[in-house]
Amino acid sequence: MKSISLYVEKGSWLNKLHPYTKLLYILTAIMIPLTGGKLWLFPVMIVSSLVLLLSGRIIKRALPLVGFSFTLIIVIFLIQGLFNHNNETVLFSIGWITFYKEGTLFATRIGCNILNMLLAFGVFVLTTSPQDLVDELEKSGFSPKFGYVINSVFQILPQMMATKDTITDAQRSRGMETEGNLLVRMKAFLPLISPVVMSSLINTRERAIALDVRGFGRKQKKTWLYDRPKCKWDPVARVILIGLMIITIVWRVL
């Protein structure tokens, strides 16, 4: 069964790093260009994320992440470049379409921001297993019940996907059309989704009983089977990241 998580275990130093350190990196990568206010800070952070992805040997897996944001970036470029309110200076024209400098600059800023965020999140998402993140959250005082919610999503989804395939096949074999004009496709939505939704909601009752029987509601402190090996780079990385953030703020204020 295919998991929805993009995590891959490569045994790299990024995998060994504490999830919080990587979350701190996301914060730093997003905050520095936004507080710094200079456009060149975006490429700097984008390149640093790319270097991290390269060193973690996951750059190939990061590409699809970037790929699907391209439509959004292109739309932003078109709309802002053509119609931004501050548009005055003509940048270039293709036929009767004229791109303006102000709008394009604005779009570049937003586009860089999106790319920067995507790559910074990529560093986190591709190197941290959800299980690991939940464990660390619970160790620092996060409610185990909500930890269960997160873990459970990853167990339930593959099950629901399997049910979804079964239902789609069953409905098709009864002659339901899933392709055609918009009305046909709209009408197909309810018979496809409702059996899956119904069965998964009804399953929750059984799951609740099963969990209760196993002492889910107990208030005692939980213990962990797996102890996370400490990584020597964690403190170093955290100090560097926090330092960078402080430097940016100070630089901006001065």
Partner: protein, 200 residues
């Protein structure tokens, strides 16, 4: 008013949350498989809100976006966690006030959810993407309003309304049909007003 926010945090309600998050994902998946011009990614949140109340609805919504944002790398979703939270909250409140009891009344619920989504998403859209939503129809309208010289705020607001309100109306219709069809033994688990009758 106290009853509206009353929440039972039992095992049953906690198990409901991941199921609802799964349903959200499924709705989005089917919408893209059938190439529908809607998102339909808040069906689960609304079911959670109708069954568990506004608090569970809000948790479902926020957890949904946070989990997908932090595991599938789709951080565009992450920003809209506040929107999902708002939808869950508003739909939950309206459902507790009885606006999911009959089919015509559920339209009030749909409008409420849709407007909550619009009001929260518009500032986020302007802040992060300069006003676009990423939906073809909405963005075409946004481009038209910008070309005709309307303000970014108004254009983005219209952009959201065109996309979100029909989306929420269809979502609520689906939710209404599904919740009506659920067996009583399941809905009884989430009924806050239920009283245990003793025979002794």
């Amino acid at each position: 008013m106290g009853k509206i926010f009353k929440t039972k945090l039992t095992t049953a309600t906690i198990v409901l949350i991941p199921a609802c998050i799964g349903i959200n994902y499924l709705g989005k998946l089917f919408a893209s498989l059938l190439k529908l011009p809607l998102w339909l990614d808040s069906i689960g949140t609304c079911i959670g809100a109708c069954l568990g109340g506004p608090v569970i609805g809000a948790i479902c919504g926020a957890a949904n976006n946070l989990i997908y944002g932090l595991t599938t790398g789709d951080n565009i979703t992450l920003i809209y966690a506040i929107t999902s939270l708002g939808i869950g909250l508003v739909v939950g409140i309206l459902a507790r006030m009885g606006f999911m009891k009959t089919f015509p009344k559920s339209f009030v619920c749909a409008l409420g959810g849709g407007l909550a989504a619009v009001c929260i998403s518009t500032p986020l859209n302007i802040l992060f993407w300069g006003g676009t939503t990423g939906n073809v129809w909405g963005d075409a309208l946004f481009a038209a309003t910008q070309a005709s010289g309307m303000s970014v705020g108004l254009g983005s607001f219209l952009d959201e309304i065109v996309v979100d309100v029909p989306d929420k109306i269809i979502t609520i219709i689906i939710v209404y049909l599904i919740v009506k069809g659920l067996p009583k033994k399941l809905t009884a688990l989430y009924d806050v007003n239920a009283e245990t009758e003793r025979l002794d």
